[in-house]
Symmetry: C2
Subunit: 175 residues, 2 copies
């Protein structure tokens, strides 16, 4: 199964493509960071992001797309742009006829590290190890997108088991 | 000038098309409310919204698009869906090669009623009067979209004067 993960953002949008099957090590296909200029106008930024994501989906031909779910608890100044970027990412997958799944940050963290509250350094270290990379993905923005793709593969392309795991973590029964 | 206004929403998205020139009465061309099912999955909802808005832009051939700017102060439960819908609306205009302008709710209220804090009933009454309609637009969701379009026309397709007016309103010197 090939999955394209998206860590949505308007200024920096991480994209990671990973191949694998549940329960086995995954393989890195590619990763990118799509950037748009904060000084540019919103319509142009969304257009550039839409084109870049549509092109990456066409180039890498994933079987499904995983996008991080945005919460309003995030930085209030940037959360609207992040939410709009996530909408564009979900749409890019849906327009290509692909199944699109969203995951909360804590679901992804729990899937990758066993803890829903892992920090960024721990996540990057695990992604580097799980994909057997010689060094961490650069820029770091790509690591979260790769983690989303790995998370989606390991859950067999469905969210149900992961949601249950995340619930267990929240109840304090984590590994 | 023909303008397509969008009051973004995932469950109900108002769309209003108005024709006119600055300083003269405007004419109603059409209004619609695009609905998606809250029980449906997000990717399908965004896809339906994208198709509907893209079709309405193609059908009505506006010269520009005006979209309400979303704030995180809105209802936290629905604000993410509203932000995603606004991203889809801005993108639909940009993909058609049209200029897209966003306005805050208080900018639109100030333009239509002279007060940035006008309530919904007052806005609907003014839109009905300004477009010389026999009765208020139904459903009411369309009134805000029509107000956005009128606001954009009256400001001559630019936001600068309006932003200045809104600032004056905020400083207490309305109209």
């Amino acid at each position: 199964m090939r999955v394209l993960g998206v860590d949505p953002g308007l200024t920096r949008c991480g994209v990671g493509v990973v191949e694998g099957v549940p329960g086995r090590p995954c393989t890195l296909v590619a990763y990118h960071v799509v950037r748009t200029d904060p000084d540019d106008e919103l319509p142009h930024r969304l257009l550039l992001l839409d084109r870049a994501l549509t092109d990456l989906v066409a180039e890498h031909r994933p079987e499904s797309v995983a996008v991080e779910r945005v919460f309003s608890q995030h930085n209030v100044r940037t959360v609207m742009g992040t939410a709009q970027a996530s909408g564009i990412a979900v749409l890019a997958g849906a327009r290509a006829g692909l199944p699109v799944q969203t995951y909360t940050p804590s679901e992804v963290k729990a899937a990758i590290t066993g803890s829903g509250t892992a920090d960024k350094a721990q996540m990057t270290a695990m992604v580097t190890r799980l994909l057997r990379l010689a060094e961490p993905p650069k820029p770091a923005d790509a690591a979260d997108a790769l983690a989303l793709a790995i998370c989606h593969i390991w859950r067999g392309g469905t969210r149900s088991k992961l949601a249950a795991a995340a619930d267990r973590v929240r109840r304090g029964g984590a590994r």
